[in-house]
């Protein structure tokens, strides 16, 4: 009996230690970035363009990032949602579905550097879009497609079959059933998917680095090149140009991510129709 208690207690100690470590590392990173980064943050830093080697702010870079986010979401959301609808609502179990699923999963597992390579070959070179916001967005769209498909799929699957049967049983057509009953219930999931994708886009560096280029100015259009926050930060750190500005950029990135996470939860919850 006490043997069992001893074992139990030792195991518990291990578990607590591991958890403490996890949370500790996170806190450490956040605090470290905050302490070192917050000093450099100023209105000017946020509202001016980079200058020279190490001067200036990050406004154009923030705007480039927003461009890429917007474009990627506009491209990937309909495709992702439609694909999920097909998989959940129409596809008959069989080869084709298995292939689609496998493809989606593979896509999710492909490292961003490969996307970068591919984007570089295909969009930048073959389609001759050059280093541009559009090349970046197209590459990222493929990259976030699995996230979109999967989160939408999950939320479609979470819609009880009873709703579908109920609707069809009333004589509603399939499309109507999807539009009026299934999709509304899946909206929170879809929104979560979008927000998660935004998070990925914001944090992505390798793929963007190869496709959107690294010019530090404001992109003049979708076909113009421009670096994003993550790339900016990588370059600052890698080249050792300015650790202060790198910290500040890291801080901005982290804050954005925090905001995204926070709103993902809130928006998802507020849209949930099944909660009474």
């Amino acid at each position: 009996m006490s043997n069992r208690k001893l074992k139990d207690n030792l195991t518990k100690i291990l578990i607590y230690a591991a958890s403490l470590l996890t949370v500790g590392v996170l806190a450490w990173i956040l605090i470290y970035i905050t302490i070192n980064g917050i000093g450099e943050i100023s209105l000017e830093f946020l509202t001016s363009a980079p200058e020279g080697e190490s001067g200036g702010g990050i406004l154009p870079i923030i705007i480039n990032t927003l461009y890429i986010i917007l474009l990627t979401i506009v491209i990937s959301t309909p495709i992702g949602v439609f694909a999920a609808i097909y998989l959940v609502e129409y596809a008959k179990p069989g080869k084709i579905v298995r292939i689609i699923r496998f493809a989606t999963e593979s896509l999710a597992g492909i490292p961003s550097i490969i996307f970068g390579l591919f984007g570089y070959i295909f969009f930048v070179t073959v389609l001759n879009l050059g280093w541009s916001i559009l090349s970046g967005a197209l590459t990222l769209s493929i990259m976030v497609l699995p996230t979109m498909v999967r989160t939408t799929e999950e939320s479609l699957k979470a819609v009880p079959d009873a709703y579908r049967e109920g609707s069809l049983g009333l004589g509603a057509s399939k499309l109507r059933t999807i539009r009026k009953v299934v999709l509304p219930s899946a909206i929170p999931g879809i929104v979560t998917g979008i927000i998660l994708s935004i998070g990925r886009i914001v944090g992505e560096s390798a793929a963007v680095y190869f496709t959107a280029g690294m010019v530090s100015r404001l992109a003049k259009g979708f076909l113009d090149s421009g670096r994003t926050l993550a790339v900016h930060m990588y370059l600052l750190a890698k080249e050792g140009i300015s650790f202060e500005k790198a910290f500040a950029t890291a801080f901005v990135l982290v804050v954005i991510i925090l905001l995204i996470n926070f709103s993902a939860n809130k928006i998802g919850a507020s849209l949930d129709k099944t909660k009474v």
Binding site: R4, K7, D8, T11, I15, A17, A18, S19, L21, T22, V25, L26, A27, I29, L30, Y32, G80, V81, F82, I85, Y86, L87, Y90, I99, F102, A103, T104, S106, L107, G109, I110, P111, I113, I114, L117, F118, I121, F122, I142, L145, P146, S173, L175, G203, E204, S205, A206, Y209, F210, M233, Y234, A237, K238, A246, L253, V254, I257, L258, N261, N265
Partner: protein, 305 residues
């Protein structure tokens, strides 16, 4: 008489609605096809990616020679030496290191979150872990560069940019993947199992390790495989802390260069065979990842049964 009139009327109504329905059926068909094409985008993407990567990188492998390319230990693009064995080994070592650090901690933390933590602590830890997942990898790299690298240099000697630093950073980076998926699969273990075990007088810890973790086994395995994928594919963070010397490391404190780093570092200025050799590195990486994906697929399919 009246009833016959009624029948006639109802037949007519039915014919009317048949017309209406043909149109509706047509629309439904078209929309379904749109959905189908969207669903095929994933297949198309994977196919196109594979084709282009192999198309660009495949020929180089044969030009260099499969054996030379895979087992050559020297990488000197200027000298036309394109052996990527150091990079392959670097990737594998770093990944193994990440697993050794990240998996046990991750699973134990998952157990803590799913089972032991009181609700208010859970409410702190879970979002923290999600946040950990959201932090851009460059930030990790940057943090590693400024914290671990100097620390290793100071305590263990060497430059600090090393296999160890890469492993630690990757270990931390796979934590959220391992934790989140493990927690999800632990939580999806029916609470009936837990109740059943406790009701028989098994202790909570016994219950967790004898019933819940085995029941969540396939989910946890999937988490580990995804973690491996993430570690092997990570680029920017690794570049920042690994030292990037294309040599096979002898010790934990030696610098390493991973396949991903190899590509990212030199792509900017490479041309000709050099550039193709980088694409070829991508091919090898791609093959690694595909093998992992297939393994993952096997596991998750098994879990579904």
């Amino acid at each position: 008489m009246e009833s016959r009139e009624e029948i006639r009327q109802s037949v007519k109504n039915r014919e009317d609605s048949m017309e209406e329905n043909k149109l509706q059926n047509f629309i439904e068909k078209i929309v379904e096809n749109i959905f189908f094409i969207s669903a095929c985008m994933a297949i198309i993407s994977v196919a196109v990616i594979s084709i282009f990567i192999f198309y660009k990188g495949g020929p180089a492998i044969f030009q260099i020679g499969v054996k030379e390319f895979l087992t050559g230990t020297t990488w000197q693009p200027l000298g036309d030496y394109f052996g990527i064995l150091p990079m392959i080994i670097g990737s594998i070592y770093a990944t193994i290191g990440a697993i050794i650090i990240g998996v046990p901690i991750g699973i134990l933390t998952a157990v803590f979150i799913a089972e032991l933590a009181p609700e208010w602590i859970q409410n702190i830890v879970r979002p923290s872990v999600e946040l950990l997942a959201g932090i851009p990898s460059v930030v990790y790299g940057f943090f590693g560069l400024l914290v671990f690298v100097p620390f290793i240099a100071d305590t263990l000697g060497g430059a600090g940019n090393s296999l160890l630093a890469a492993s630690v950073i990757l270990g931390i980076m796979i934590l959220p993947t391992v934790i989140n998926i493990s927690v999800t699969s632990l939580n999806s273990v029916p609470k009936e199992y837990k109740e059943g075990s406790l009701a028989m007088g098994a202790s909570h810890i016994q219950t967790i390790f004898k019933v819940m973790i085995p029941a969540a086994k396939s989910g946890i395995l999937a988490a580990v495989i995804l973690g491996i994928g993430r570690a092997i594919g990570e680029t920017m963070a690794v570049i920042l802390v690994a030292g990037n010397t294309p040599l096979i490391p002898d010790s934990l404190t030696d610098p390493i260069r991973t396949m991903t780093a190899n590509i990212a570092l030199e792509m900017g200025y490479a041309y000709g065979l050099h550039q193709e050799a980088l694409f070829a590195t991508g091919v090898i990486l791609f093959i690694f990842i595909m093998i992992l994906n297939i393994m993952l697929n096997l596991f998750t399919n098994k879990a579904g049964e």
